[in-house]
Point group: C2
Chain length 225, copies 2
């Protein structure tokens, strides 16, 4: 029985922009596991009832159902230990900091660059949900997100400083080859790349080169099909 | 032949406040290695000529001289592989991000809380050097560092968010036991603790509990003697 992932989609089936779903897509590619990525929209909560919660990603592996990107990564290393995402408990524990940095620092800094693009990219039936939930989270209308384009770019570039310095000195966050550590912030960059034309990295930024290295490493396995 | 560390000191020999030197003290304690920590002041550059550079920490191990806290940690894992600071290349590579986060995000946020305390704590002969170098780095007089006490505390608490969340879910940054990953930000907290009365963590902050766990783990081995 194959693996199935419920994967956030925009109006177009091939628009897969969730940073958390990207972690799972990368983790599966890393392990060389094939999966079917079912497009799912924000308001299709009833389709996830079987998982006991209402968010994606959800992984279905035979009788096993796992939700939450981090829990899915952990599950995959347990169920499919070859080509580990994290090669020791220490490597996994350290990556927790990267996870929270990506979620609490990087993604909030990128959000003002990308939320309106997401609003335009998502299915019409999702727009009310998206606007209401995001405006509540940010405390303002999508049209009134803080900063102008210049200020937002400045914030993002500043926030990226430790990532840039790290990747200026080593090919991947986990060393010589990509690993689960890389996928945590990589998902955030895909979030922007998939829905937005915004270019916020200089071509000579070490982060740009890292993104190309990760994409090149997995090649077709990351294609949305 | 024993190990020797050149260790930044204030006017008092037992005032050891360098975040980088603390990494080395912790790393040696972790490995159960005894060392002599020689007090060294900022302006005693001539005492370091043998090391080919002019900053501490410097580790002397027989014929081997290593400067830079990260290089010393790497050296210690190579020369004394038991009780590793990082148990795999992946764990070490991931910790590079923590290193740069501590240096480029955490320490700059803590600096306005602590620089004037350091100025008061250091030897009189170091004060001119310290004032000149720090005022150049921060672009203002020590007395004019940005923000008032409330704003600085707010910045620090915000910056600490991903560390707090991580340590709310696991005992140490490297998992169930302390490791090299913990020592990178821990040094920054020692920097403040040694010279300053500033309390910037709530008693119920998971970071407070983590600091106590690290200190408790090594006990006397961290004492300045």
């Amino acid at each position: 029985m194959g693996l199935t992932v419920y994967d956030l989609a925009g109006a177009q089936d091939d628009c897969r922009f969730s940073p958390y779903c990207w972690r799972v897509r990368l983790a599966l590619a890393h392990k060389g596991l094939e999966a079917e990525f079912l497009p799912w929209r924000f308001t299709e909560k009833e389709r996830l009832v079987f998982s006991g919660q209402d968010r994606v990603p959800v992984l279905v592996d035979g009788e096993t159902v796992v939700s939450d990107s981090w829990a899915i990564m952990t599950y995959l290393d347990e169920a499919y230990p070859e080509r580990p995402l994290f090669d020791t408990a220490q490597a996994r524990a350290e990556a927790t900091f990267l996870k929270y940095w990506a979620e609490m620092v990087l993604q909030p800094a990128l959000a003002p660059l990308v939320l309106n693009d997401i609003y335009r990219a998502i299915h019409e039936k999702d727009r009310n949900y998206f606007r209401t939930s995001r405006e509540k989270a940010f405390g303002c209308r999508l049209e009134d997100l803080p900063g102008d384009a210049t200020a937002r770019l400045k914030t993002v570039r500043q926030v990226l400083a430790p990532l840039r310095r790290t990747l200026g000195g080593q090919p991947f966050l986990g060393g010589a080859a990509p690993s689960g550590a890389d996928f945590l912030p990589y998902g955030a960059f895909q979030w922007v790349a998939v829905v937005s034309g915004t270019t916020f990295l200089e071509p000579d930024d070490p982060i740009t080169a890292w993104r190309q290295r990760v994409a090149g490493w997995y090649g077709d396995a990351l294609d949305v099909r």
